[in-house]
Subunit: 283 residues, 2 copies
Amino acid sequence: MAVQRGRGRGGVPNSPADAVTEPMPAVATNGTNGTPGRPVAGDVRERARAIPEAAVARLAVYLRVLSAMSEQGVGTISSEELSVAAGVNSAKLRKDLSYVGSYGTRGVGYEVSVLIEEIERILGLTRNQAIAVVGIGNLGHALANYGGFPSRGFPVVALFDVDEDLMGVPVGGILVNHIDEIGQVCASRDVSIGVICTPPPAAQAVCDRLVSGGVRCILNFAPVVLQVPDDVEVRKVDLAVEMQILSFHVARRADEVALGRDGRDKTLNGSDVPGVDGVVVRR
Amino acid sequence: MAVQRGRGRGGVPNSPADAVTEPMPAVATNGTNGTPGRPVAGDVRERARAIPEAAVARLAVYLRVLSAMSEQGVGTISSEELSVAAGVNSAKLRKDLSYVGSYGTRGVGYEVSVLIEEIERILGLTRNQAIAVVGIGNLGHALANYGGFPSRGFPVVALFDVDEDLMGVPVGGILVNHIDEIGQVCASRDVSIGVICTPPPAAQAVCDRLVSGGVRCILNFAPVVLQVPDDVEVRKVDLAVEMQILSFHVARRADEVALGRDGRDKTLNGSDVPGVDGVVVRR
DNA sequence: GCGACTTTGTGCATGCGTTCACAAATGGAT
DNA sequence: ATCCATTTGTGAACGCATGCACAAAGTCGC
């Protein structure tokens, strides 16, 4: 399969799993997105998931805001200020921070530097997480050159593709290797996160190679539901899904207006021949 | 993926995904509000949010799977089969489909073509949603050329950037316009979804222009919390956040191993001097 | 040192989403 | 025509996340 840009249409679209939320995604959600794209997991082990996934995602946002604050010379910040900057409820923010620990001073607020340090510790950002990008098409190129990764502790250390013309070509400073070398290269370069940007048909195979190379965390941009061992974490970003969610809101809004601003009325099931479009609004 | 507002997927982040989360305002929560939550305070409308955001995200996934099935000539499918293909619980899948309506046949399953039609109707995919991409950098280029959009009813009809060298240059078949023209061009080309791929500092200004151009739905790739009117829907995809969430899992896993596979013990608050790293695992 | 003020941290209630479990509905076989 | 096997659709239980409201804790000024 040609792992390369373009991505033939008419292909076989597949399925991801929610983000959100979880997304996520973007996720699943989306969840939504975020999108904890992974089937149950129902073992006995009962992971006492210390920090809610949703909180973890927000912590990352707080961290960015805090970094910006820090650069501006802000030394202390209250939950109220930080929550506004991050676009969340202040109570939620405090609760999120409480998962990290009690590092605030009542009557004063939080010391920015301390908070940054602690959140980074929780998120495992104290040490660099090497990442590998597979599928050097449009998106892969963009990610390989994306400055946001290395500057935040995620150095791109490996690139892979099937296109022979790309072998040995430097992209964003890294030479492209063949996907057959994924396992070996990832293991030797200690890759902890793999990013899949291949066409859908190639995604699962690539995923398997990454896993065999010791990669336990995967960020998947291919619209496919990946099958992985229980100990591998997959997050999915599905652009088409994101667009469709927005599309849903456009449609919903249109209906609202059409129905006169208060779509109430249960047409549940009774209707066929929707004529134009009658999105059933449940009550 | 991190999604903000809309979704779910993750409150601020996303989850996408993920983690699907609740819609949150970018509106500053000031103390004077007696408005509970944020759902539409002022008016009476009280939108009985027909379909949970998380379900919407999954419907998009089902749609993709169904399309694939259809192309393979599958005419009928049971909730069990579909749920496996989509990577979700079958009960959840049935409930999701029930939001759309009752189009299944007990003892048999669902007719693929009917399901596709109905889901497309709900998601507002019966008519094309024109999209505009702002910020033609690496990511913008990738999106402009991304085949997954037009083929799914999301034609890219406008591109914008500030770089003079890009003006009039065709990218993916569309000529690039200057961001000052956003309002006018979006209005005339009837853009319903705007995609922001600009550097963080430019995001808010671009967002404002899109809104003034009549765009009510925005997909934001810039790591910034956008401020928008209540009637504008924003979804956020934050790659750095996605990476950090994965990083968190890497770290958690490492701790687990270090603690002997079942980190239980609430050191909540009592600890300082974490020595190395002691992610508190709550119970 | 004391009192007033500010802000954190969290118990609790609420609401949403997930999952279970089963009655209802349908096709096919006898 | 009736029974059996199958699968949908959904009421209800459960669990997690959100948001509120307040006591605890600490600062500042006098």
